[in-house]
């Protein structure tokens, strides 16, 4: 089993993810430069956070149109798990692998702080080890994390159980105050219709060891590895 961690010029969470996968979980993982066009040998893909291409044009827009993304789409179509975190989420929406768009935070500021998330579904390769309703402490670090989709799209995300994480307060309520960026319906993470593609703005790799203040994010990666073993 091997996981690809995709590197674009400007990715900066790639090594953190590699550390969690290899050192914390003992999995086999590899950094893959964006010029690679064939990802067939991998069982899962992580698109890390950062500022690919300096956020030129729109966050994630240029990376989404690089050749490696054709292979990411191919692997996703084959049912392999693909997770995009922060800038990786932006790349996945820009490439059309996930619905909606991520726009500038409603309060136009780079927000880097802990947030609480509620697990909305365990029926994904990334959340199977959680219980529905679990409250997680996982930090965010972004300027363009304001999730936007039109009403019909939001309704279909809900109907198809594609809503994976919501920003909540410590008691688990999805209030306006708990929403750090103005995302529609407090959405922090959504999945594709088949559930094997997940995008989330918070950084589970920054909450995967107790020494970091939280290890709530670790189960995202453990769930992914378990899903791969069971395929």
């Amino acid at each position: 089993m091997s996981i690809a961690v995709v590197q674009f010029g400007g990715s900066n969470c790639d090594l953190d993810i590699l550390h969690v996968l290899m050192d914390v979980l003992g999995a086999d993982a590899e950094l893959v430069w964006y010029k690679e066009e064939n990802l067939d040998r991998f069982d899962g893909i992580v698109i890390p956070g950062g500022f690919s291409y300096g956020d030129y044009l729109r966050a994630g827009a240029i990376a989404a149109r690089t050749p490696i993304m054709n292979s990411v789409k191919k692997q996703a179509d084959a049912g392999k798990p693909v997770i995009g975190i922060c800038n990786g989420f932006q790349v996945l929406t820009e490439s059309g692998l996930l619905e909606g768009a991520l726009t500038t935070n409603n309060y136009p500021k780079f927000r880097c702080e802990p947030t609480y998330l509620r697990v909305e579904t365990t029926d994904t390769p990334f959340t199977s080890m959680f219980r529905k309703g679990d409250i997680l402490s996982i930090p965010i670090a972004h300027m363009e994390g304001n999730y936007y989709a039109d009403e019909p799209t939001l309704a279909s995300l809900e109907r198809n159980d594609q809503v994976v994480f919501r920003y909540v307060d410590r008691n688990g309520n999805a209030t306006d105050e708990a929403n750090p960026n103005g995302s529609r319906e407090n959405l922090a993470g959504i999945a594709s219709k088949r559930k094997n593609v997940l995008g989330m703005m918070p950084h589970p790799e920054r909450a995967s060891e107790e020494v970091l203040g939280s290890s709530d994010g670790l189960k995202v990666f453990r769930s992914m590895l378990e899903y791969i073993s069971s395929r």
Partner: protein, 83 residues
């Protein structure tokens, strides 16, 4: 023939424009009252095409595929032939 296209990309009406709102507030600090301030991005693209219609078609495609995100943006294109 050589053409110059000016492409304006704007957030759709009703979408939050935090940069525009911030500029509006700063204008108020300077004593200017405005009803609204919206930001936009302009791209100037010079290209070769057989005629103005194919130039327009080409730039339209560029907007759909990359320059705009049709989920959140409207765009407008104006074209002229360069002598």
């Amino acid at each position: 023939m050589q053409y110059q296209a000016e492409v304006i990309i704007e957030l759709k009406a009703g979408m939050l424009d935090p940069e525009g709102t911030t500029v509006k507030r700063a204008l108020e600090h300077l004593g200017y009252e405005t009803d609204s301030v919206r930001t936009a991005k302009k791209f100037t693209i010079v290209l070769q095409a057989a005629d103005i219609h194919s130039a327009k078609e080409n730039v339209e495609e560029m907007c759909q595929k990359l320059i705009a995100n049709p989920i959140i943006h409207n765009y407008s294109i104006s074209l002229r032939e360069i002598e």
